[in-house]
């Protein structure tokens, strides 16, 4: 290996690492606030990328039907709940607005207009608009009724959601992979190494998102509410923070981060309906490095995972995945040495 290859691999590793970092942040966020280990995080990566790809091949993305379907189910549940109690009119209107009207408007845009001919930036916004609401909808349908369940139950349910979404992904997008055009065709050469515009986009957008999240959590009231919920659920509830709202907001952020990551990497790697799982799991390895709690450690872990992956693909490409997933073992060992034995489990 010479320096040029090393730099190339490092560049590759950092780009992938940036994506893993984003996913790791989302996973830590969701876990801290809702105690859900969000295995389906990766599916949002695939859904984001493939929805965008559908626009470009002038197909109607299946995620639209999912959005309409889940919206309809939630509307029925909310209507049934509203008929059983008085008042709450405003809440009902809001719920119906988001779960019936919003999908209907999007459906009108996607089906009547021809988003395939629109500029890329608008397509990206539309793809996000389709995929991101799925996050809070999944929370409402699946996790909200189980809010008091143990981490273990929530984890198993997450795996179930993951399976259902992967199956739906296959149904919506087929088994073939897709790529989307790059955000920018520019490329720069730094010495011997060529840096593509897309690489810079990925790294730049990741940094921007991370800074954005930081500001959100440090400065905004909602961000602070989420942090409060993460630290103490009951305490936050007593302070008038709705844990349901906090949960939905988390899932919204997680879905947005996931979909954005997918849209960012789609020009670099071919995305298949089931790509998300592996990508998401690598985000997990990074998150576990951070003990599922620390954001900076998780981000550092993500870059480490990315580099490990790209360098091992050079030396032992067949064992790339084995190496990345085995990395978790020394990490767990280290954590089990440093964590005091937790004796009492919940429930």
């Amino acid at each position: 290996m010479d320096l040029q290859i090393a730099l190339l691999l490092a560049q590759d590793g950092v780009v992938n690492g940036a994506i893993y970092a984003l996913l790791a942040l989302a996973l830590v966020l969701v876990f801290a606030v809702t105690r859900v280990i969000f295995i389906p995080q990766g599916e949002f990566v695939a859904f984001g990328a493939l929805t965008l790809a559908s626009f470009q091949t002038a197909k109607v993305p299946g995620t639209l039907w999912l959005l309409i379907g889940m919206g309809a189910v939630i509307s029925i549940i909310e209507l049934a709940a509203a008929s059983r109690r008085r008042g709450g009119r405003r809440r009902l209107t809001l719920a119906l607005g988001w779960n019936l009207a919003y999908p209907a408007v999007l459906a009108a845009i996607v089906l009547l207009a021809k988003p395939g001919q629109w500029p890329l930036a608008v397509q990206v916004v539309l793809a996000m608009a389709l995929v991101v609401p799925l996050g809070p909808m999944i929370y409402r349908l699946v996790y909200q009724p189980l809010a008091s369940a143990s981490v273990l139950v929530l984890l198993i349910v997450s795996v179930a959601v993951h399976l259902a979404l992967v199956g739906l992904g296959l149904l919506f997008f087929g088994a073939e992979g897709s790529r989307t055009p790059a955000f920018s065709e520019a490329s720069f050469s730094l010495g011997d190494v060529t840096v593509t515009g897309q690489t810079l986009w990925v790294i730049g957008a990741s940094l921007l998102l991370i800074v954005g999240l930081y500001i959100f959590f440090e400065r905004s009231l909602w961000g602070k509410a989420l942090r409060a919920t993460a630290i103490n659920r009951v305490g936050a509830q007593l302070m008038g923070i709705s844990t349901t709202q906090a949960g939905k907001l988390c899932f919204l952020l997680a879905a947005a981060i996931g979909a954005m990551s997918g849209i960012l990497v789609a020009p670099i790697t071919t995305i298949y309906y089931d790509t998300g799982f592996l990508v998401g799991l690598k985000g997990f390895v990074a998150a576990i490095v951070g003990g599922m709690i620390s954001y900076p450690l998780a981000a550092a872990g993500a870059i480490l995972v990315g580099l490990l992956e790209s360098f091992s693909s050079f030396w032992a490409s067949a064992f790339k995945e084995v190496i990345v997933f085995t990395m978790i073992i020394p990490v767990l060992l280290w954590r089990s040495m440093t964590t005091r034995h937790v004796e009492e489990e919940e429930e």
């Binding site: 259902a164 073992i329 089990s336």
Partner: protein, 587 residues
């Protein structure tokens, strides 16, 4: 009846159904391990398929490799020896993984299993001597006394025999001393440790048993298919195994069979149906499985088996009061011996000093009452003494030996037993079984003996001891009721019976009289006096002053983490500092 149906099944059923039943048997064996692990023990693994793969690949490699290293060659003599090899490999891998992850809190284990489930799968597919993604062919059939089990119908009997044996052994295990410890893992960790149960060991046991069941299933699978490739050992299949256990009823041994049967048949049917409905090919059944799981968790968290069991009347087991030889008792320290000595114990939680320079002494044959207003630090002191929390500084000695820094299990073994302020019973288990956990450390039979019920003699003695203690505290009529169905005051008394069945020299009671009626309190006081007269030392934390003052030999009063008074009940009652602490002073 069912057995007869199982036995004649292959004689009358067409080939297809026999094969299906074979698969159900193989899957149920893996799911059975998960019932033990997840449903009973509260641990979860998504990586059981990888253990199945280890079993299958070990036998595949050893029976087909052209040239084996000399060390391994004697395994290749017979597939029955490769089963041993497969079990050894699997247990070694599971042992290492268990050591790494079992100590961590709940969700690390499943996350770890996700990761290594993934990496073992890629390993199977990328190692050239294991055949890569194409796999290995030409695995010989099993043979039994020279008779080759080539036909699925023949293998059927072997598979179901092994499965039923595994079910029988699992049931035996759960209905034993070790089994009670395992059943206490979910939601009773601290209590079990305080009763002398090594919970880390119990976790490891069920993890290894589950891995072993998976490896046996893999071995059978390899010799049934006669070839192996990585696909059936992927993470997705691992997840499916977990679904089988959960949907069937993760807390019930028979749930594994129901779940495996249901998922296998459903998968067969959906794989046929869905591609036609959707007009495309693919594993669409996972959509249904995913939704089904969510539905089960929302609506029937215990799975299908309990619903089935309710529909079918099942014979209740006979409820005879267990009898047996009394257990050996430990040597009683003579009355007046110092049992417990706490010297200058300090406990800080961050900046908060919960106990400051606390000292006290309990002697054999006396009742020492520890009283004080709420938040005085009494329960903290209890936790220091019993080893739940280590003291920040100071000494705790029991029978002349330092025990601060010992874990609660070790302290329990030396003859100290306790009850909890917040009752820690296992609500679904009977009163008898709950109390028998207290006698855990007085038995010694291991897992293997329990699995074949070779320890019935000892088990009878343990249960008889538990029954005696229940009788002693006056709850005989509730012996076979679920502990959770008793009134709170009675549950506290059950805790005392549990503590007594460990044959302690020192008994620590945390508010035993709370929630009792007047007459019940009288009975309890009589019991405690009798225990004292037999030479037991009793440390009592209590709020009920009438109860304390009429019973205690000496009283220690705490406030703000410090001892403010000590002496005979009458002296303490007149102590101005005590009166001020309880009634408030005049500023």
């Amino acid at each position: 009846m069912l057995l007869a149906l199982l036995a004649i099944g292959p004689l009358v059923l067409p080939e297809f159904y026999v094969t299906l039943l074979n698969y159900i048997g193989l899957y149920a064996l893996v799911a059975l391990g998960l019932v033990l692990l997840t449903g009973v023990g509260g641990l979860t693994s998504f990586g059981q398929a990888a253990f199945v793969g280890l079993g299958a690949y070990t036998t595949g490699y050893l029976t087909t490799a052209e040239e084996l290293p000399a060390v391994l060659s004697w395994f290749a003599v017979s597939p029955w020896l490769t089963l041993v090899a497969g079990l050894l490999v699997t247990l070694a891998v599971a042992g290492v993984l268990g050591l790494l992850t079992l100590r961590l809190s709940g969700h690390y284990l499943p996350l770890g299993t996700l990761a290594w489930g993934m990496s073992l799968y890629f390993l199977f597919g990328n190692v050239s001597f294991l055949g890569g993604h194409t796999g290995m062919t030409g695995i010989p059939p099993l043979s039994l006394f020279g008779f080759e089990l080539r036909d699925g119908r023949h293998l059927y009997y072997l598979i179901w025999l092994i499965l039923l044996a595994a079910v029988w052994m699992t049931q035996n295990l759960l209905d034993s001393r070790e089994g009670r410890a395992i059943r206490a893992l979910k939601g009773g960790g601290i209590m079990a440790e305080a009763m002398g149960v090594d919970t880390a060991r119990s976790r490891m046991i069920i993890f290894l048993v589950a891995a072993a069941f998976a490896a046996i299933s893999g071995w059978l699978y390899a010799h049934m298919q006669r070839f192996v490739n990585p696909t059936p050992f992927s993470l997705h299949i691992g997840i499916e195994y977990l679904f089988m256990a959960v949907i069937g009823g993760a807390g019930y041994v028979w749930g594994a069979l129901v779940g495996a049967g249901l998922i296998t048949v459903l998968k067969q049917w959906l794989q046929d149906l869905l591609p036609r409905v959707f007009g495309a090919s693919g594993n669409f059944e996972i959509i249904v499985f995913g939704l089904l799981m969510i539905f089960v968790f929302h609506r029937a968290r215990d799975g299908i088996w309990p619903l089935l069991a309710r529909a079918v009347p099942i014979k209740r087991p006979a409820r005879a009061v267990p009898t047996g030889e009394p257990l050996a008792r430990r040597e009683r320290p003579p009355p007046g011996t110092t049992l417990l000595e706490v010297k200058d114990a300090v406990k800080k939680f961050g900046g908060l000093v919960a106990n400051n320079k606390m000292s006290l002494e309990v002697r054999a044959g006396e009742i020492l009452a520890l009283i004080g207003p709420n938040g005085a630090g009494k329960s903290t002191l209890f936790n220091l003494v019993t080893g739940v929390d280590p003291p920040t500084s100071g000494e705790v000695s029991f029978l002349g030996e330092r025990v601060d820094g010992c874990c609660s299990r070790e302290i329990a073994r030396r003859g100290m037993s306790r009850t909890f302020q917040h009752v820690r019973l296992l609500p679904a288990m009977s009163v008898l079984e709950n109390v028998a956990i207290g006698a855990h450390q007085r038995g010694s039979a291991g897992v293997a003996a329990a699995a074949v019920h070779g320890e019935r003699g000892e088990e009878a003695r343990l249960l008889a001891e538990a029954a005696r203690q229940i009788e002693r505290v006056g709850l005989t009529e509730y012996m076979f009721d679920a502990a959770g169905s008793l009134a709170l005051g009675q549950q506290r008394i059950v805790e005392i019976a549990r503590a007594l069945s460990s044959d302690p020299s020192l008994l620590l009671l945390d508010e035993p009289a709370a929630g009792l009626r007047y007459l019940e309190k009288e009975t309890l006081a009589d019991l405690l006096r009798k225990l004292r007269d037999e030479g037991m030392g009793i440390l009592l934390v209590e709020h009920d002053m009438d109860f304390v003052m009429g019973l205690a030999d000496r009283v220690v009063v705490m406030e703000f983490g410090e001892k403010i008074a000590e002496g005979l009940p009458e002296q303490v009652q007149c102590n101005p500092a005590v009166i001020e602490a309880y009634l408030g002073g005049v500023d």
